[in-house]
Amino acid sequence: MKHLFLLLLSVALVVPCLRADQPILFPHSTHINKVHLKCIDCHISADTRDAATIPGVRKCMLCHAKIAADKPEIKKLAAIAASGREIPWQRVYGFEKAAAVKFRHGPHARHKVACATCHGDMPNAITAQPLVKHNMGTCISCHRQNNASDDCATCHY
Amino acid sequence: MFLISEFRSKDALVEAILALKKAGLTENDLAIFSEEPIEFRKGILDRPSNMSKAAVAGAAVMGTAATSFVYYAQNDYKLVTGGMPIFSFWATGIITYEMTMLGAIFATFFWFLWESGLIRKRDPEAPVPMIGPASMSLRVRCEISRADNFVEILRGSGCIKTERVK
């Protein structure tokens, strides 16, 4: 009984951390597997600039003005678009401010680090959620395996 | 079986120990209980100690461990230092020294606990006599058949009282 309670408690504590509550149930799997979109079709600067960027609501509406417009989630999307505001996505990856990390997507993409290395199996993910737990150890071990710089000032400045 | 006899003078105690040893008991069969340490001349009731060796061993182990740890840890992160050496025995000498000493301290302490029998009871069933200030109790371990003989010896050497404990 006690064990069950502890188990439930840990599940209750961990699950909310893993699953960010997104305003719209955006299924990555449908877009990637069925529509065959690529990551950079939406996250357009993931291969060149510092931030990967999240597409604006108008980009979504390019397709969803017509496609599946009757589904409830898309109606929510349309409502947001109509209001002239952006979708209040919850950030799922990020660095603590105190960690003073300057991460750049560009160099990683240039050196052929697959998106899945850090972001996990997004093609089969339902919504935007952190599939891979990141800490400094993740970065450092990958950097060392690939002969990338393990100098602190590569990321911290 | 055990004999416990109480003494009030050190000379009587020495006499008793010597007589018991002559009668065939070894130093391991004898134990003295007192409220303060009693010093004997060499050859009466020697308790050979390995504590200094243990201390040296502990020092060597901890010192070597610390030095190699520091060596490997520093070489592992390949610090760029400009012109200075990454690892130098001189600079880490103080760590080696302190850890060596810490090793010696720990070894001494644990060896003290071990050798004194505080964590390793030699005879867990053996009775422990109550001792008052300045009284000394001699505990003798012997076979039942020879107990009478030893009681005689103890009486003869001037103990105050002797009891037998199973």
Partner: protein
Amino acid sequence: MVIDLDRCTGCEACVVACHSENNIGMSTPEEAARGRVNHWIRIDRYYEGQFPDIKVKYRPVLCQHCDEAPCEPVCPVNATYHNPEGLNVQVYNRCVGTFYCANNCPYTVRSFNWFDPKWPEPMQLQHNPDVSIRPGGVMEKCTFCIQRIKRVEDQADAAGRPVADGEVQPACVQSCPAEAMIFGDLNDPDSKVSRLAGDGRATKLMEELGTKPKVVYLEKAR
């Protein structure tokens, strides 16, 4: 880096540029009076002669990025160290604030965040997103604008070419109206700084301490 003292007018443009580029916190006048100003670069003034017949010499002093930096071996947590490019780096998130580095710096160029940094109202809007804001309790110092170095290196890497001489310009160098400061790669014998460092006027600050500073001052011998 090469600083031509004969050109320096002491206008302190470099100090201002450094402050805004590197998100350096601002102190109040009261705090400043207690020696609590944060400057990564400061202009030292030296007076010669008696008023009114007086001559003033200026010397911008910033982290000298010593090859054998006295601050590095004393940091217990490796928060300050030499990076492979030869910069003397300060890792803010590793710093625990023992102050040992600052005590051991003969140039007194390290500054400490006595409190969490503060800016008067609209000033926080001009923060440089490329530079992290250091929390209180952390030592900091001139980085030679490492964010600019990284940016240029990244661009060069993307274009598949080496970094050109003079392509990296720290904020102080960029803002110097007298062009008294020049930044470049001292390892490259053809770079402008290397040529200037071989100039007859070249001196280094407190070189006698064996710190091997990487900032070269050009100064007419007097």
